[in-house]
């Protein structure tokens, strides 16, 4: 590995495999257990007397429940408990709040509102018997007309889905707007060129390889509930269980063990978790619920499902003046969007992208349909996937209209480095960015000009090749508590650090890794601040009894919020260590210099104490300086002043088979800038994974429904996820533009590639199809849909 001199900057990159300190490539501390099959996932838990729970789900998208007969199921010799919605209603538990202040049925009582909705549950002695017993429950349904096409959801004669809500007589969820409608109108009126396009971001699903599940264990003697569950936000879940179930919060312990991927799917509280808790309360035994893949795809949090009309106004020379959009958002049967309370459309307001505009405006309408709830998931950073897709598609439509190169058009309109911090026309303040070098690097890595030449040659021969570009600005690290809370819980994160007498340390986080490598990178952050090798720092997360309160991991917020907390808590410890060192060395603190884990006396190189010496002194015999308590530890609750705004430039090359219309992603170049890089190896892995999501969404994945509301994507036979054969060997690069307000200059990055790659791929496909007169085609660009586009019939998928 190369070691790069720090150039007088704060951050030195070093090879941690050889020199264990601070930032740089370091192999993961998590891996030794995972490669041995010794991970500890929820379904691996086996507790004495543990029972198994299975859920009966609705076969209808919309139907009244007229009766539920559980007699046969209760008679099954291995069944301990059968619970219906009516039974939960008696306990006041039939409904629970969603993360958007709506309510969602735990078990349906009055009617079912989407196919796959929870109707009843069974607790039995084993996994197989529980499934058997589901077949023995007899539910009578009276089918109702479903609302499936979002475009008709607000029609006067549309069936009302949410008649449970007082006075509700339509399927309207909310209207939301941002930006300046009048100014945008004026700019559009005087623009040389206006381009508009209907752009669909179809419904997809995060589909983590491990589905959702929980083991609930209620101890009736001390009244304590322990819940191991697949949650990305264990502390927030604990508080919500306290509110929902009426249990005292100090008697609830939520534990996230190892989680087999989250991708936003494991942020909400699902009915299955509540059922497991109820099951344990009623049986007095530990109860395990583990959904299968079909349940995961049909009932848990979907992603996207935005129908967007994009409009862009520009001068003939290619100066973009304004962007407008109208959005119709399909939220399913319950508004379960996981987003800060004041942001019903998440951070979609960043749809102005990386460009310096005069005006922008968005009007959005959200509606209920007879589908599963969700919306914010799958590495979307609170709807930024949709925002970036809209702006990057519509900018390409403009390039097409003007006959301009898509890279040149973007370069012409970038926010300039000296404009940061930059306030967008929708009120977001981008922290830092230097866009042109990132774009130039992507161009160089891709050999962009040579690619265009190759494309021209191939076109002359009738071959179909496309080059697609996207440039994105992300907004991650929610967020400042003055603006951002989830159901009243401010989006700050705690961190605790203890240095043991022998100089080893434990850092406790409020966030929860699902594979992103926190056990490694947070040790590196603390190591970088304290000089204790990362191997000597244990990272504890996921157990709400053991860790400080915080909002969890999603929205690429771990590094921006919790990473900042880890750095600052380490600095607090260092400040205390400095005072102790001054006593040990008998000099004033002003005479001490910090050198990677050692305090030295200025001008006296022989006089020094290490952080390990100080830790022993802090716990040992003898006096400490006046006013200093023993021990070496600190805690903090970090409230970020702003989000972080990483950016990236992506270039995709596709080839399309003229006979079959199959799209092959031949090359993909991704240049990301997430400021200071804690562990380049881990960042690269994050990017690779996100780019694969992009190929999936752009070419393969969709949660589809028929007109009766049957979900057509309930298995991995139909919901196609890329394998090793559908993706290229990724090419990555990076630039570094630190975040000025972050303690170590680091920005989030986990979702960047998922956000940035779909438009690059779609832009490449549309670019390839330009000779066929195609200006836009909607995802997923399967061979059949690309074929239709080549025949001049590109229909929207929904």
């Amino acid at each position: 590995m190369t070691t790069v001199a720090p150039n007088g900057n704060r951050t030195a990159f070093v090879d941690n495999d050889r020199k264990p300190n601070g930032h740089g490539r370091m192999l993961r501390k998590e891996d030794p257990r995972f490669v041995r099959g010794k991970g500890r996932y929820v379904d691996d838990l086996q507790l004495p007397g543990m029972l198994h729970l299975a859920i009966l789900r609705s076969p209808f998208a919309h139907a009244r429940i007229t009766s539920v007969d559980t007699t046969l199921a209760e008679a099954h010799p291995k069944v301990r408990l059968v619970v219906t919605g009516a039974m939960l209603a008696e306990k006041g538990l039939a409904w629970m709040p969603t993360l958007s202040n709506d309510v969602q049925a735990v078990l349906a009582t009055d009617k079912v509102r989407f196919q796959g909705q929870e109707v009843a549950f069974v607790v039995a002695e084993d996994r197989y018997a529980a499934r058997d017993a589901l077949e023995l429950i007899d539910v009578e349904y009276e089918p109702l007309d479903p609302v499936i096409d979002v475009r008709g959801a607000l029609a006067p004669d549309a069936p009302v889905i949410r008649d449970d809500l007082e006075g509700k007589n339509d399927n309207h969820v909310f209207d939301w707007e941002t930006g300046d409608a009048a100014l945008s109108e004026e700019v559009f009126r005087r623009a040389d060129v206006v381009v508009s396009e209907d752009i669909v971001y179809p419904r997809v699903h995060p589909a983590p390889m491990e589905t959702c599940g929980a083991v609930a264990d209620f101890d009736a003697v001390d009244g304590k509930l322990t819940l191991w569950s697949t949650t990305q936000a264990p502390h927030a879940h604990r508080t919500l269980y306290a509110i929902v179930a009426g249990l005292p919060e100090h008697k609830i312990r939520v534990v996230s063990p190892d989680i087999g991927g989250g991708f936003g799917n494991k942020v909400p509280i699902y009915p299955g978790y509540v059922c497991a808790i109820v099951g344990s309360l009623l049986t007095g035994k530990p109860v395990k619920w583990m959904e299968d893949r079909a349940e995961n795809l049909i009932s848990t949090g979907f992603a996207r499902d935005y129908l967007m009309r994009g409009e862009i106004a520009a001068t003939r020379e290619g100066k973009i003046l304004a962007i407008r959009t109208h959005v119709l958002a399909d939220h399913g049967a319950f508004n379960g969007v996981a987003a800060p309370v004041k942001y019903p459309a998440g951070f979609f307001g960043v749809f102005t992208g990386s460009y310096d505009l005069e005006a922008a405006y968005c009007k959005m309408t959200a509606v209920y349909t007879n589908k599963a709830p969700g919306g914010v998931a799958y590495a979307c950073s609170f709807r930024i996937t949709e925002a970036v897709y809209l702006v990057e598609r519509i900018v390409d439509c403009l390039a097409h209209e003007l006959g301009m190169d898509p890279v040149e058009l973007r370069m012409k309109n970038f926010i300039r480095p000296e404009q940061f911090p930059y306030r967008t026309k929708t009120g977001w303040v981008y922290d830092s960015g230097n866009y042109a070098p990132t774009m130039e690097l992507a161009k160089d890595l891709a050999g962009y000009d040579a690619l265009r030449a190759e494309q021209a040659e191939k076109r002359a021969r009738g071959e179909i090749m496309g080059i697609g570009v996207s440039f994105f600005t992300e907004a991650v690290g929610a967020g400042p508590r003055k603006d951002m809370d989830i159901l009243g819980l401010g989006m700050a994160d705690g961190c605790e650090l203890r240095v043991h007498p022998t100089g080893k340390a434990v850092v406790r986080l409020s966030v929860q890794t699902q594979g992103q490598g926190h056990e490694t990178t947070f040790a590196q952050i603390v190591a970088g601040e304290l000089g204790i090798p990362p191997q000597d720092i244990e990272v504890v997360h996921g157990d709400t009894d053991q860790t400080p309160f915080g909002l969890g991991t999603y929205g690429s917020r771990s590094t921006p919020v919790s990473g900042a907390a880890a750095a600052l808590v380490a600095r607090k410890v260092r400040d205390k260590a400095r005072l102790i060192a001054s006593g040990m060395l008998e000099v004033s603190v002003a005479d001490l210099e910090w050198d990677e884990g050692t305090f030295r006396v200025a001008g006296d190189p022989e006089a020094s104490v290490t952080i390990q010496d100080i830790a022993m002194k802090a716990h040992g015999a003898g006096d400490l300086p006046e006013g200093i308590e023993g021990g070496l530890e600190a805690q903090i609750c970090y409230n970020p002043e702003n989000l972080t705004y990483p950016h990236g430039a992506y270039i995709c090359v596709v080839d399309i088979d003229p006979g079959t219309a199959k799209v092959t992603v031949r090359r993909f170049v991704a240049v990301d800038d997430c400021g200071t890089r804690i562990n380049p190896m881990i960042i690269e892995g994050q990017v690779h994974g996100g780019l694969t999501d992009g190929v999936g969404m752009a070419l393969m994945e969709m949660i589809a429904f028929d007109e009766d509301g049957n979900c057509l994507s309930g298995s991995l036979m139909d919901y196609l996820i890329p394998t090793a054969l559908e993706v290229p060997d990724w090419e990555t690069g990076f630039t570094v533009t630190p975040s000025p307000h972050h303690p170590i200059g680091a920005k989030g990055v986990g979702e960047s590639a998922t956000v940035g790659s779909p438009p690059a791929i779609v832009n490449a496909v549309v670019d390839a199809l330009a000779p066929f007169g195609v200006r836009h085609a909607d995802m997923p660009l399967t061979p059949s849909r690309v074929w239709e586009a080549m025949q001049g019939r590109p229909e929207p998928p929904i």
């Binding site: 590995m1 190369t2 790069v4 720090p6 150039n7 900057n9 990159f13 740089g24 490539r25 192999l27 891996d31 030794p32 257990r33 995972f34 490669v35 041995r36 099959g37 991970g39 996932y41 379904d43 691996d44 086996q46 197989y128 983590p208 390889m209 491990e210 087999g260 991927g261 991708f263 299968d292 893949r293 079909a294 230097n434 070098p437 690097l441 890595l445 594979g515 170049v669 240049v671 380049p680 690269e684 892995g685 690779h688 994974g689 996100g690 694969t692 298995s715 991995l716 996820i721 394998t723 090793a724 054969l725 993706v727 060997d729 990724w730 990555t732 690069g733 990076f734 630039t735 570094v736």
Partner: protein, 184 residues
């Protein structure tokens, strides 16, 4: 019914139902929870184990069918306290993130290298194409398997680098970066 099979070199006998899937036999009856269960349709491959040396999806094999046969799981990869080169390769090349697909991927990789000690990247991708990973984007898995092959052949020179670090970017300084992948 009673079933007897060899699992990681040890003979085990258990009373089971005829319909019990091998994946659940391994996980729930033997507490070998390294083998995972990720789908219902035999697509994902998180349950891959070796049955008489062949990689199989243990969700699509009845435990009874494994009677009299030899099963190897991820727990049996490590021998005499030494990690298998495949396990080391996955650690060295960051071939895993959440770790859920990893056991199955490694069992397939081990079977591949046992039959072909020097597979091409295309052959590696083909070999793992019955398995899904949601985290890594596969490139590092391919590198991991290549690393193991080189390790076993004694031809490994260095661990494949991740991208070399760029310099920080003070105003006006050109950023530096390198690509990763087949070209490097």
């Amino acid at each position: 019914m009673q079933v007897t099979m060899t699992v990681n070199g040890e003979e085990v006998t258990r009373e089971i139902e005829g319909r019990l899937l091998l994946v659940h036999f391994l996980r729930d009856h033997l507490q070998l929870t390294g083998t995972h269960w990720g789908c219902d349709t035999s697509n994902c491959g998180t349950c891959v184990v070796r049955l008489d040396g062949e990689p199989v999806k243990s969700c699509t094999v009845l435990a009874a069918m494994a009677g009299g046969h030899e099963v190897r799981t991820v727990e049996g990869l490590e021998q005499n306290g030494e990690l298998d080169p495949v396990q080391r390769g996955f650690i060295e090349c960051h071939g895993l993130q959440c770790g859920f697909c990893t056991p199955g991927m490694m069992m397939t990789a081990r079977a591949l290298l046992d039959s072909d000690p020097d597979p091409s990247d295309e052959e590696i991708r083909e070999a793992i194409s019955g398995q899904i990973c949601r985290c890594t984007g596969y490139a590092t898995i391919v590198r991991s398997i290549r690393w193991a092959a080189a390790e076993e052949a004694g031809t490994r020179t260095t661990a494949p680098d991740t991208e070399a670090p760029a310099a920080e970017q003070p105003a006006g300084e050109e950023p530096v970066a390198t690509t990763t992948g087949s070209a490097s």
